[in-house]
């Protein structure tokens, strides 16, 4: 089907060869359909995941009956009775009417406006507040109205942000490490000072409130200490929006979850995922490489070895949940329970290691990914020509020297590929973690200033489980959806990057060592 064919041949080619008709096109169609599905999934995740952070304009909707509501239009669906459309608005002010969403019949809408002075306030509790800013009252009682109120509000919120950061730093860096050493005189005095400073900061943050006139005519008073941020979405320029979007993405990545995992960020989940995966790769690499070297270089290449090799390969196909069951039965209940009765008797009956935790999760996933590493390393080892080994031995090297100086350096990229593939698999695996240690919400990350710094027995949060939990166990799934999209996008990105690295490495490897390939 290349060019450069003579004219007659080309004109004969014009007719589709009869036998090649239907089947060929159906096959091409199945390629296209798979790609389309993949593309659709990725586009959906990207658009919904990133779009959530874009500050979309807030509409002030006036209904026929005179009622007003403020919120962002989310989507439209045909009405159940078939005539007309219904539009979903994401509103705020949940403390006033208990609702975060409003369905409105499109035909019942009289006017939709986008007044520039609508203010959206992110709050620590009750979600967002939306309304016209009436007044801001400072801590001292001075009351500002109009445009001055907005400038004062912005300044005060920025100030509160820095205070909050200072408080969090103080808590994490000074108070928590000191709290462990209560019996120490000097530490106790330091702690006292830190607490005094903390009270000072808290006093500086207290006081002040803002008043909003809500769309339905009410008044909403928000204590300034409760407000996390405020913006006027309709008055923003595209550049402002972009900045707000960047800030939203950053806060998603760097903050902890709020409101039962339906708001806030996923930082603890990122942290937990990365930590667990790192521990897992520390465990899986040496053992996987060891087993691969044994199988390929040391073991007698007989029937038994071949059977073992097939068995190991097949273990890669055993469902991950089975590994989770094994981890729960052997690591958590078996070894963990034994450890508890030996070393942590004081804490019983509440288990220390006898319940799911970081260590057991890492071990389980290490076991799960062991076949991946073994297979990849073995492939790398098998690709090294025997002449290399024989040459080394002929020059007088012992087997250890031959392995460590010649074979392993040559197989290193293959090992790395195996480990990366293992990491990619482990990062996306959720089912076994549900049995051996993942938590819906872990108040403490497994690393802190307390000895021994890394707490292997603690439960941890995980991106994949966060998706499952927020999407299925949250109270308001509708509200959690954007964050679930964003989390899913994040997880997919992490895994794509890891896999691309592995693919790139493998490609690099096969071109570099192509000449060495054993035929």
């Amino acid at each position: 089907m290349r060019g450069g064919v003579t004219k007659t041949a080309a004109s004969r080619r014009l007719r589709l060869p009869r036998g090649e008709g239907a089947g060929a096109w159906l096959c091409a169609g199945s390629v296209a359909l798979s790609l389309l599905a993949l593309l659709a999934l990725l586009v959906l995740l990207t658009v919904r995941g990133l779009g959530h952070f874009w500050p979309s304009p807030v509409a002030l909707v006036t209904l026929e009956d005179g009622r007003q509501l403020a919120g962002e239009g989310v989507r439209e669906v045909p009405l159940a009775d078939g005539d007309g459309l219904e539009r979903l608005y994401r509103t705020g002010n949940r403390d006033l009417d208990g609702e975060r969403w409003a369905w409105v019949r499109v035909s019942a809408i009289e006017a939709v406006g986008y007044p520039a002075d609508l203010v959206v306030v992110e709050r620590r509790r009750w979600g967002r507040a939306i309304g016209h800013l009436v007044a801001v009252q400072g801590a001292g009682g001075e009351r500002l109205e109009g445009e001055a109120a907005w400038t004062a509000l912005e300044a005060r919120l920025a100030e509160l942000g820095t205070l909050r950061d200072a408080r969090d730093r103080l808590r994490e860096e000074v108070i928590l490490p000191l709290a462990g050493r209560r019996d120490d005189e000097a530490a106790a005095r330091e702690l006292e000072a830190a607490h005094a400073r903390l009270r000072e900061l808290q006093a500086a943050m207290a006081g002040g409130r803002l008043e909003l006139a809500t769309a339905d005519g009410g008044t909403l008073t928000v204590p300034l200490a409760q407000a996390l941020g405020a913006y006027r979405p309709n008055a923003m320029s595209p550049l402002d929006r972009l900045a707000a979007w960047g800030e939203g993405v950053w806060r998603f990545l760097s903050e902890g979850p709020r409101a039962a995992n339906t708001a806030g960020g996923v930082w603890p989940a990122i942290f937990g995922t990365v930590l667990m995966v790192m521990l897992m790769s520390l465990l899986v690499t040496p053992f996987g490489v060891l087993a691969a070297i044994y199988l390929n270089e040391v073991a007698h290449q007989g029937r038994l070895t071949r059977l073992v090799r097939i068995a190991v390969r097949n273990l890669a196909g055993v469902p991950s949940i089975v590994y989770g069951v094994f981890g729960l039965g052997v690591f958590v209940y078996g070894i963990g329970g034994r450890l508890d009765s030996w070393f942590f008797e004081a804490a019983l009956p509440s288990p220390t290691f006898g319940t799911g935790g970081l260590l057991w999760a890492s071990l389980t996933l290490a076991l799960l990914t062991l076949p991946v590493v073994i297979v990849a390393t073995e492939e790398g080892l098998a690709r090294i020509p025997d002449q290399q080994r024989e040459g080394a031995l002929a020059l007088g090297a012992t087997r250890l020297e031959m392995l460590s100086r010649v074979v392993l350096p040559m197989a290193a990229p293959a090992m790395l590929t195996g480990v990366i593939l293992a990491v990619a698999r482990a990062a996306g695996e959720v089912a076994p973690l549900m049995l051996v240690g993942v938590a819906k919400l872990a108040p403490q990350v497994p690393v802190d200033g307390d000895f021994p710094f890394l707490h292997l027995e603690r439960k941890f949060m995980h991106l994949g489980y966060h998706i499952f939990d927020a999407a299925f166990h949250g109270g308001d799934v509708q509200a959690a959806m954007p964050l679930v999209y964003a989390t899913a996008l994040l997880l997919v990105l992490v895994i794509l990057v890891l896999n691309l690295t592995a693919i790139f490495l493998r490609h690099h490897l096969s071109t570099r060592h192509g000449a060495l390939t054993r035929r």
């Binding site: 080309a10 589709l16 036998g19 090649e20 239907a22 089947g23 060929a24 096109w25 159906l26 096959c27 091409a28 169609g29 199945s30 390629v31 296209a32 359909l33 798979s34 790609l35 389309l36 599905a37 993949l38 999934l41 959906l44 060891l290 087993a291 070297i293 044994y294 199988l295 073992v308 097939i310 390969r313 097949n314 196909g317 055993v318 949940i321 089975v322 094994f326 729960l328 039965g329 799911g356 062991l370 076949p371 073994i374 012992t398 020297e401 392995l403 996306g428 695996e429 959720v430 089912a431 049995l435 998706i467 499952f468 999407a471 679930v484 997919v492 895994i495 794509l496 691309l500 693919i503």
Partner: protein, 407 residues
């Protein structure tokens, strides 16, 4: 190494000792790791034993109970899985694993129904017609698709696709009807295009340029749906299915699970099938083409039969993956333990049941052991299926080597 002094006897002995030690360590470590891996099956088997040969007063559970939920089970509690339900004194425990096994197999079957044609078609296209450059790009792309975490696929299927499908049944039906004629129509139009256009849209790249075409076809099916609904389904497909065919429709049903899991399983089936097809010695295909067969005829009559064991093993591997996949079924199936043939009803699989119930089941109890039995069943099934596939593949590779010298 060359300029180091010749080793003395002591140094040589030291080196040899170290070497022996390292070899022993590697052997011990390697055997230990492999033994730990293989211990999984052993552990499950040992833990399950007390179910059938109890040591104390507890009564053994009969296979009959696991199948139908007890000998005396009346119709209402036959094939029920409710191990934690509080029972009246004379009731038999509802511990039938049958609905769970049924759900597992049903989900896997629907996944294969979707994945296998897609994967085999894609494999056939990429080994027959696809340009080399596109093929070298397609493989890693589908590998990425395989690596997409189950929890993400399950979330999209359960919370995005399922509600959409529920509201747009007719659109989905229309899309299914148009999926086969769509590419055929493209082929028909293509053969009528002027030659330069066809040069620009070669068959080798059809996998790529058919993507927007298929998107168009799907858009057309949305547009055609009301008409289809009016003509074929009395104006309302949902009512048609419920009243005429007597089908219950659950939002999260077996078809949704099948579609999601088919999406997840398709890349691994594709990879293995493509390996099998491209491994067929080219001398066979060349011989057939020299005798005047078209590429498609060569494929259908020569390459496919030669590669059929490999394709069988690819399908087996896919079945193993589909049976064990947990998160997709958990999130997209509704988890109702039913035994129906209706693809629009929910299901509950063994793996999902383990994931939901095992954390709550105390160790050592009957419930715990039953769940371990479920895990053992999954383990044995996937292990056997994979071993079978691997054996078939090994034999196939030997045959290729005999046939064509591994060309």
């Amino acid at each position: 190494m060359l300029d180091s002094p010749p080793p003395t006897a002591v140094r040589r002995r030291l080196r040899q000792g170290r070497d022996r030690l390292a070899t022993a360590l590697i052997t011990a470590g390697g055997i230990g790791v492999i033994a730990a891996l293989l211990a999984i099956g052993l552990f499950l088997a040992v833990e399950v034993v007390p179910l059938f040969w109890p040591s104390g007063e507890a009564s053994a559970i009969s296979p009959e109970a696991l199948w139908s939920g007890g000998e005396a089970a009346e119709d209402a509690s036959r094939h029920r899985w409710a191990p934690t339900a509080t029972l009246a004194p004379d009731e038999t425990p509802r511990i039938s694993l049958a609905p769970l096994a049924w759900g597992t197999l049903e989900a896997a079957a629907w996944a294969l129904v979707i994945a296998v044609p897609l994967a085999l078609g894609a494999a056939a296209h990429s080994s027959l017609f696809m340009s080399r450059r596109l093929r070298s790009r397609l493989k890693p792309t589908l590998e990425l698709m395989e690596a997409l975490p189950g929890v993400v696929v399950g979330f999209v299927a359960g919370l995005v696709l399922a509600p959409w499908v529920e509201r747009h049944l007719a659109e989905v039906a229309a899309a299914l009807l148009l999926l086969v004629p769509g590419p055929l129509l493209a082929g028909g139009l293509w053969s009528r295009l002027p030659a330069p256009w066809r040069e620009a849209l070669p068959l080798g790249w059809a996998g790529l340029w058919l993507v927007p075409w298929l998107a168009l076809v799907l858009a057309a099916s949305v547009w055609l749906a009301p008409w289809l609904e009016a003509v074929a389904f009395d104006g309302d497909l949902r009512r048609f299915l419920e009243l005429r065919l007597g089908l219950d429709i659950a939002v999260r049903n077996a078809l949704i699970v099948g579609a999601a899991m088919g999406f997840a399983v398709m890349p691994s089936v594709y990879a293995l099938a493509e390996d099998a097809l491209s491994g067929v010695p080219s001398s066979l295909a060349e011989g057939a083409q020299a005798l005047g067969a078209t590429r498609w005829q060569t494929f259908w009559k020569v390459v496919l039969p030669a590669a059929s064991p490999g394709i069988f093993s690819a399908v087996m591997i896919g079945a193993g993956r589909a049976v064990g996949e947990t998160m997709i079924v958990l999130m997209a199936s509704g988890n109702a333990a039913l035994m129906t043939l209706n693809p629009l009803d929910g299901l509950r699989s063994l793996a999902a049941t383990i994931a939901i119930e095992l954390p709550e089941a105390g160790p050592g109890g009957v419930h715990y052991q039953l769940l371990l039995l479920a895990a053992l069943a999954l383990f044995v099934f996937t292990f056997l299926v994979n071993t079978l596939a691997e054996l078939v593949r090994t034999r196939l590779r030997r045959r290729y080597r005999r046939l064509g010298g591994g060309a």
